[in-house]
Structure formats: structure tokens, C-alpha cells
Symmetry: C2
Subunit: 169 residues, 2 copies
Amino acid sequence: MEIINLRRSVRSFKDIPVEDEKIEKLLRAAMQAPSANNQQPWYFLVIKNKAKLKELDVVSRVVPNAQVAILLLNRKENLLSPGRVSSDMAAATQNILLEATYLELGSCWIGLYNDGEDKFGKVANCRKICNIPDEYDLYSMVAIGYPEDEDANKFINRYDPTRVFYGKI
Amino acid sequence: MEIINLRRSVRSFKDIPVEDEKIEKLLRAAMQAPSANNQQPWYFLVIKNKAKLKELDVVSRVVPNAQVAILLLNRKENLLSPGRVSSDMAAATQNILLEATYLELGSCWIGLYNDGEDKFGKVANCRKICNIPDEYDLYSMVAIGYPEDEDANKFINRYDPTRVFYGKI
């Protein structure tokens, strides 16, 4: 599928706002992701405030360049399959990236999934800056905007047939 | 994007083989997923043998109905971002589901991500049945085939505006 092929991590964006209609389409795409037992653990914080985006430099140097950032959160309680939340959240994140590509936007996935480390304190900093209540975990942030380089979303073939086994390893 | 909207978990399949060209397209889509530091942790085992698919009933009752199953594995060593492997693997899995929808196939994501529990021994059983060497972790299995119900991939709106916060929670 062309959109899957074209998607790239985009880190430089034009100084042009992203339309609210497009932001809503990104959120709609996210919520169409599959989730274990259809538990839909996701919540979304949309950040457009320039000062806030600049402050989020501590999370990733990409964010201050973006026009909008979407912070993906999941609730910690009332989950049918707690062990599958990270998969659900990743599927929602990937849907945002693909929808962004479809809408001629550039996007970059910034991982905030806390595997118990948070070596550089990014997750803690992001929680503080965005004022996230304790009942949510931070999963990822997607930085979004119109790509500075209009050719940013382009196909680079990553197919490696040595990664595939047929029948047995 | 229409394909994102149409994708559904499909659990009943026609007794028609899936073309090898389509299987390769699914694998190509998987490998176009983003990964942390572009570490590409993925490996794929393609299972078409009917007896093996039947045996994988212990993993999920969906698998014996499928024409092909793709087992997604990740290496445990030589990872730049070990804490992000689960995100990478989920993005690859989601790409397979979307590509399958695009190719008019049905698909179902079966979670094998071992969050330290493996309550029902599914991961251990799958490893044994598929003879997976220790150097790989099992992440997910995707069951694939032509949907029995030709209307299986259809849009059900999951958008919930109460999940979205603008500016602050």
C-alpha cells in the first residue's frame, strides 16, 4: 500500500499551521486501531501552544519544530488485558503516522513507553510539563506538521528477505 | 484513510489459499514500519502447513481457520533500544493488518507479547510447536485468509471525542 511505503520520520516542518479538520482525522484514525478485547485504553492530548511545544524540547528536539504534538496516554485501571496495552497504544500511534502521511503531513514517533527505566527523565519531564494526572501512563508523542522538505515522505525500500522464514526457522 | 476505517478482526476464512505474492506484500509492509533508531528487530515465520495451523489451536482458536499465519519474532540481542522493541513490533504487526485489508484479506492479531506472565502457556506452546530458537522472542501472530463474510472488513465508527483533550487535561 503506497501510504505504508511513503511514511518516513519527518523532523523539520514548515511554519504553517495544521488544520483542525486534519487533527481530528488523525485522532479518528488512532481510535480505529485494534485493541485487545477491544479495551480501547487510549486518551489523547493535543498540544498546539508554541511555548509548550518549545518547552517539550526536553522530550525531543523534534517537538519545538512541530506545529502540533499529540501525546498518547493510556489509563492504568479498568483494563481487560493490561499486558496488551502497549500493543494497543502502538497500533494507535502507527495509525496516526499513516493517516498523517495520507494527509500530506510529516510525523515523527517519539517513544515515551516507560519500560521501568526512563534513563533521561523524559517521561517524568513530559508528565510534569503537560500536567498529566497519575491515572494515565504516557505512551508516545507524535510531532506533526507540513514537511519542510516536500519530498520528505518517500519510499525507501526496507524489505530484507533474509528476515523471512517459510515453514520453519 | 479508508483502509484504516475498514480493518476489522476477521476470524472466519474461506477455504481458498492466499497467493504467495500477497504474502510477500504483507511482509514488505511489515518491514516498512518505523523502529527506534531504525533497529528493525523483526523476523517473520510464515506458516501455511494445515497440520501446523491446526496444532496452533492452543495459541488461538482463530489459527486453524486461517490459510496462513505469520509469526512475528524479534531478536533479543544487538538492539539499540531494547525498551522500544515492543513498539517496533506492534507497528510492524499493524502494517500487516492494514496491508491485508488493502489486499481484500481478513486478518486477526493474536498477542503473544510476554509481559512476564504467559498465564495460559500460549507463548511457551507456540515456541515449542514452531520450534523457535532461544535467541528470538515471540511478539504476535497474524491469522490471515479471505474472509468468509465478504463484508467482514467494514467501517464501524469508534471515534469518541471524550478521549481527546485540547491543550490540557
